[in-house]
Assembly symmetry: C2
Homo-oligomer: 153 residues x 2
């Protein structure tokens, strides 16, 4: 049975990726939980240690967005588990990222694109104003190639 | 204000690591959520894609424990966020793992030990029988060295 709040939860989950793609820190800020539990907000970017507290988390997004010339997400296997007050969304994050032309004139002079794959756990809290992001944990998925390279070390 | 269930949540969280250290699949099995929501159980091992569903998750633990000669955890920054029905625990997983003597006679012939560091998000659900693990997401923390190696690629 699908919880009646599932659509609202999935919409809030999507805002994380919309805000990142648009580099919109105001939208990102509106999404994350505020109020008495703001200090318990937590975010793990792929390969990072956790960033804890609403202010620190938003600063981390500002830095990441300022250093991302272009990013586009295709989410896969988006699954929402919804209880009355807390929702847990898991999804695959398939990223296409762009980087600007190398100012040193290296490479072929064309802007580059790279693909990437991560998995995310997003925990949302229900508030009077709607669902808000409480925790985001994204981690790299190692390919067979990565593992072989690591095995060589 | 600390939620009155915090101690029970932290105890359940610790069971995950006790079961892994002891290679005790019965203890692991008792910890994970069963019943109508068993299919929504999810587990991300470091570098893996998500394993979904209670049975598949327990099989993954069986395989990992069968292939781990020795493992010991020291948890750091263990933080519990507890609501009435759902709890979210984040922690650093500092691992000491052992591997048996290389049967091919390589190396110095002594059993080896290796350290590792990961971060985990553990989501627990309150049931009539106590707190049960609903989702585990562990991911590697990349060190400066890892990033430099990656940057070389």
């Amino acid at each position: 049975m699908t919880h009646p709040e599932t659509t609202a939860v999935l919409r809030a989950n999507q805002v994380l990726y919309d805000a990142f793609e648009a580099g919109d820190i105001d939208l990102m800020s509106a999404l994350w939980l505020d109020g008495p539990d703001a200090a318990t907000v937590s975010c793990v970017h792929p390969g990072w240690s956790p960033v804890v507290g609403r202010d620190a988390v938003l600063r981390s997004w500002s830095v990441i967005m300022a250093n991302t010339a272009y990013i586009q997400f295709v989410l896969t296997d988006v699954t929402a588990r919804v209880t009355d007050d807390v929702a847990v969304v898991t999804c695959g994050e398939n990223m296409l990222t762009g980087f600007p032309v190398d100012p040193e004139g290296g490479g072929d002079g064309a802007p580059g694109l790279a693909g990437g794959h991560a998995v995310a756990t997003n925990v949302l809290r229900r508030t009077a104003a709607g669902w808000r992001m409480w925790l985001h944990h994204a981690s790299p998925v190692l390919t067979r190639e990565d593992v072989e390279v690591e095995g060589d070390g």
